[in-house]
Subunit: 292 residues, 2 copies
């Protein structure tokens, strides 16, 4: 068993229906996406990001996330969450009684401007207000830092900057702190260095990692984080969200591979990987049908 | 720089035209495969496995490897090699003046019987005779152990068994010793354990690793081997040889990802990754056209 871990249980959040589908050219209807989510929940996925509250003009793949939420048969013990990008999204989550939201802010000035139209400092203030209003309304929050291990535009991102942002977010009392390798830039040494420092501030038990397999280092980074005691990860059915045949494609680490690797190390997820695989076959078929 | 390394240079052998294409359902003509090889050599690939001398009834994808060899404009300094499976293959290599061959024997009894029709001990004796006759005829040889880190049928393979086989092969004076994770079973700890022990017998400088990305651990295993001082790897253009969307698929580690990871660690391969990428686009197109 890896060093630093107090438990054999690992919490996986499935992000295929959001980060995965959002990066696919095909657009799936809310009904189909709800069906996919039901299948993943039936595979004993305990945490799932069902979509994001974002303008359909900006991200048409995520249109109708509110409808998905209404369609779902909510299963006890499952954490359903929605990514929110602004105060309007938080208000929608409050109105729709969504139990968990995720709020991410970029550690990279350039990425922040391109992604949210504002600089990192302004985005951080806005995010803190968003988290505060969600928490006040009884919504669980994952507050996270994007580009925590490097930025496609700026290259290296300093660990000091990540600590500073994570500490600021933590003041708003979120349930957990996320660190995202948004651009898939991290190697295992970067993961160890940043996790070690950030964990000292927020506690390793509250740290969730969002990893991409852009350069094939996803599993290497997962292993590095496990060694540091991290037990919360975002994964995506079939590694959805980036074509493995295109360099620079940014697929999330795959749920199936992650479960296999964790189990080979004696760690448990509770996930039924065979059912995840069948859900993946459904997605592959739908994405192919909807693209042609 | 990783521990144990005496140099910044890493030798990559491109195995896409052999291990990659052999595992694809589409069959490409010798002319097309020769064209692919020329493109890869133009991308400054310094070592390339052009195919295997094997019965076309058994592996139709490899039919006409002799024709490919005759078609190729041989470029100075490039190591062209052919995988040979029996004495007949060695004789063909001698007759055709192929400069380098690879001879692999399985550390797993079950895999050996399924793969070559004989048990491991008998296959080892036959392989030693093959290597001796190749070496006697001035052909360079990579002598390797398949399933060196585990077997799909038998599970764990003991390091002692791998050392025993590698030592036996080494008596025949091959240029290098290969260790293949044939079934993609290895994790980084397995790599470190086996490489440490085998390197003590044959020398780390002569050790070449053949890794598969079956469970997404290919790059993690590459990093582990680099730490141990290994500087010779087989890679495959685009990770050819297994569909990333099918669990259990056994693609080799991708040439492009390997080059990117090595360069990020200050290691040089000399490979022009942009040209490799264009070769991959050609393969993807051809495989799709030939399958439908």
């Amino acid at each position: 068993m890896p060093e630093g871990s107090a438990t054999n249980a690992v919490l996986l959040q499935e992000v295929g229906p959001r980060d995965g589908l959002q990066n696919e050219p095909a657009i799936l209807s809310p009904e189909i996406r709800a069906e996919l989510i039901e299948r993943l929940v039936n595979a004993r996925i305990g945490r799932i990001q069902i979509g994001s509250f974002v303008s359909p003009r900006r991200v048409p793949q995520m249109a109708g996330t509110d409808k998905i939420w209404r369609l779902l048969k909510k299963k006890d013990g499952v954490r359903y969450s929605v990514l929110v990008l602004n105060q309007r999204g938080v208000e929608q989550a409050i109105a729709e009684h969504v139990p968990h939201v995720e709020v991410y802010v970029s550690a990279s000035e350039t990425h922040s401007k391109k992604n949210s139209g504002t600089g990192a400092a302004e985005a951080l203030s806005a995010s803190k207000r968003m988290i505060e209003s969600a928490v006040k309304n009884g919504i669980g929050v994952t507050a996270g830092v994007m580009c925590a291990f490097g930025c496609f535009y700026e290259g290296t991102v300093s660990v000091e900057r990540v600590i500073e942002m994570a500490s600021a977010l933590d003041e708003t009392d979120p349930a957990e702190i996320g660190l995202a390798d948004t651009a898939g830039m991290a190697g295992p040494d970067d993961i160890k260095r940043a996790v070690d420092r950030v964990a000292q501030v927020v506690g390793v038990d509250r740290l969730a990692l969002h990893l991409h397999d852009t350069r094939g280092l996803g599993m290497a980074n997962l292993l590095a984080a496990l060694e540091m005691g991290v037990r919360r990860f975002d994964t995506s059915v079939g590694g959805l969200g980036g074509c493995p045949f295109i360099p620079g494609a940014a697929g999330n680490i795959s749920t199936e591979q992650t479960v296999a690797v964790l189990e080979s190390r004696g760690l448990q997820t509770g996930v039924d990987v065979e059912k995840v695989h069948r859900a993946r076959e459904m997605v592959d078929r739908l994405l192919t049908e909807n693209i042609s």
